[in-house]
Each structure stands twice: as structure tokens, then as C-alpha cells.
Amino acid sequence: MIDVCHSLALIVVMALVTALLRFLPFLLFPEGKQAPKVITYLSGVLPSAVIGMLVVYCLKDVQLLTVPHGLPELIAVAAVALSYVWKRNTLLSVLGGTVVYMVLVQMVF
């Protein structure tokens, strides 16, 4: 049986901690105040580094040592990146890449 009160309490805790982490930088460096130079510098270079990290995060469960050695992921990621360089159309690359990946994992490998 579900303990409704306890479950609700846990959801409140998770919501509060998550919100705190999201708000903290904005509370520490409010708009009126000039943020320290190092923070301004970081806010400029962090995004591309973090997105790079998130790409790795998305692919973290790929098993390179067992069949199919991450081949579906490699092919699909290449399809996404190359089609984007070619057409520069986000939707096309994302949907196309996803279809390629689904076909690969469901029918080919």
C-alpha cells in the first residue's frame, strides 16, 4: 500500500532541493549587481563544454566491447551531425537521425 503522506513529503523535498539548485546562481548574482569577472567568463565558455558533456552523457550506456560495438549510435550520430552541417535544419536532423537509429536497432542489429 502506498503511504500517501510520506510520498507527498518526498515529492515536496525533491521539488524544493531541485528548485534551490536552479535558483541559487541567480540569487547569488542578481541582475543589478555586476557578477565577478570569473563568473562572466565561465558563463561564456561553459555552455559549449556542458553540451559536449551532455552528448557523452546521452551515450554513456553504449557498450563498445560487445556486439554491435556502438555501431548503431555511431552511424545515427554521424547522420545527425552531417545532415545538420549540410542542411542546418534541426527538425530534419533530429527526426531523420531518430528514424535511422530506430531502423538500425529494431531491424538491422
Binding site: T18, V45, L46, V85
Partner: protein, 230 residues
């Protein structure tokens, strides 16, 4: 113009929509399986609104975890949001009344979209607000549908969640194409790979973040010294 901002924002979030509907449904199904009906998933999407954390939440809730360990777990899983905030301080300047909601709704995917900036010709404030709102609606819808359907899904969805990976790859490619400074991106990928090998799939995000920050700070100091010499 207002209409075109809505359209632009919607189109920008379509990749997130596919990802969130699939992942949200997976979450809803999982929750329903543990005895938590659709409204629990909807409630979590409304209040916590953080994909990876909500998957952890399934275990915490069904296992009856303690409040303290839940708080610590949340801190660990969500610590990366500190970095999102720091990198959006400038972009989210002057967002007015919408700002608290923009910050509340800063998931990985919305962060990635925000990083790409508002397209030209759109009302910035409105654009950021709408992508945040649309993304959250997709997530709540996914969780609710998953909770209602249970395990009754018939078509083979295997691989559909790749949409999210594809979106990140697109944003990464776009950033690489629009800048001549590729060092931060390389630092990001390499740090994550090294930490993945050292710390394993479950625990590598926070070490990666720390390593990235340290290396970027080092890079900044190095470049500054070079400039001073010239």
C-alpha cells in the same frame, strides 16, 4: 510577430516533444507499475520537473526512502543545475516577470535550447517563456499518458528516445559551426569521457563538471597571460 514567435518556439521544441513524450510515458508506466497512478506522475512533472531525478524518485517513493536521504540524493543528481544557472546569467538578464518560471523550468533540454539563444526576429522574453512552457507540458502529458496506458502500448518504440541524443548532437554541431574557439567544447567532451572511464556511468557527471570548470579556469588564466605578454 507574436504568432511567429509562438510558431518558432513550437518548432524549436518539437525534438524535445518526441523525447519528453517517450521518456515521460516510460516514467508514467514505471510509476503505475509501482502502484502510483497517473496523477502522481502529473504531480511530479508539475512540481519537481526534472527527468532524471523523477526516474530516481520512482525508487525513492516505492522504497519509502527517508526524507534526509531523499534530499541528499536530489542534491547529487541535480547539482549540475548550478552550472546551467551560471551559464545563463547573461542570457536570462532582463526577463522580468517570466524569469522565476524560466529558472524553475531549466531542465537539461530546455537549457540546451536556451543556450542556442532566441532566433532573430522573435520576442526574446516570449520565446524563452514558451520553450520552457511547451517542454514542461510535453513532460506532464507524457507522464500522464504513460500512467493511464500502463503497459498497453503495442507499437515498437525501441530507439525512439534517441531523439534526445540527436537534439544534443545538433546543438553541439551548431555551436561548433558558429564559433572559431573549439577548445571549450573539446574540454567538455574529453573531460566527460575521462570521468566516464574513471567513475563509471552512474557517478561521472559531477566529477566531469568539476574537471571542466577547473580546465576552463586554467584556460582563461593561460589566455590572459598570453595577452599580457603581447
Amino acid at each position: 510577430m507574436a504568432k511567429s514567435t509562438i510558431k518558432t518556439a513550437f518548432l524549436a521544441t518539437v525534438p524535445v516533444m518526441t523525447g519528453y513524450l517517450v521518456m515521460g510515458m516510460a516514467l508514467g508506466i514505471l510509476m503505475a507499475d509501482k502502484g502510483y497512478g497517473w496523477w502522481w506522475s502529473a504531480l511530479m512533472g508539475l512540481t519537481i520537473y526534472a527527468g532524471s531525478m523523477e526516474f530516481v524518485a520512482v525508487n525513492l517513493l516505492s522504497g519509502g526512502a527517508a526524507v534526509i536521504s531523499t534530499a541528499i540524493m536530489t542534491l547529487l543528481v541535480q547539482a549540475r543545475h548550478l552550472f546551467y544557472g551560471v551559464s545563463l546569467l547573461e542570457k536570462y538578464r532582463g526577463m522580468g516577470r517570466a524569469k522565476p518560471y524560466l529558472i524553475f523550468g531549466l531542465t537539461d533540454e530546455t537549457y540546451a535550447l536556451a543556450c542556442s539563444g532566441a532566433p532573430e526576429g522573435t520576442d526574446k522574453r516570449k520565446y524563452y517563456f514558451l520553450i520552457t512552457l511547451f517542454d514542461q507540458l510535453y513532460w506532464i502529458a507524457g507522464g500522464t499518458i504513460g500512467g493511464l496506458l500502463g503497459a498497453a502500448i503495442t507499437f515498437n518504440t525501441r530507439g525512439l528516445d534517441f531523439a534526445m541524443t540527436a537534439l544534443f548532437v545538433v546543438i553541439f554541431t551548431e555551436q561548433a559551426m558558429s564559433t572559431r574557439d573549439h577548445v571549450p567544447a573539446i574540454i567538455g567532451v574529453m573531460s566527460a569521457l575521462v570521468c566516464l572511464l574513471v567513475f563509471g556511468t552512474e557517478n561521472f557527471l559531477i566529477p566531469s563538471m568539476l574537471l571542466i570548470t577547473a580546465l576552463l579556469l586554467g584556460l582563461g588564466a593561460l589566455r590572459k597571460r598570453k595577452e599580457a605578454v603581447i
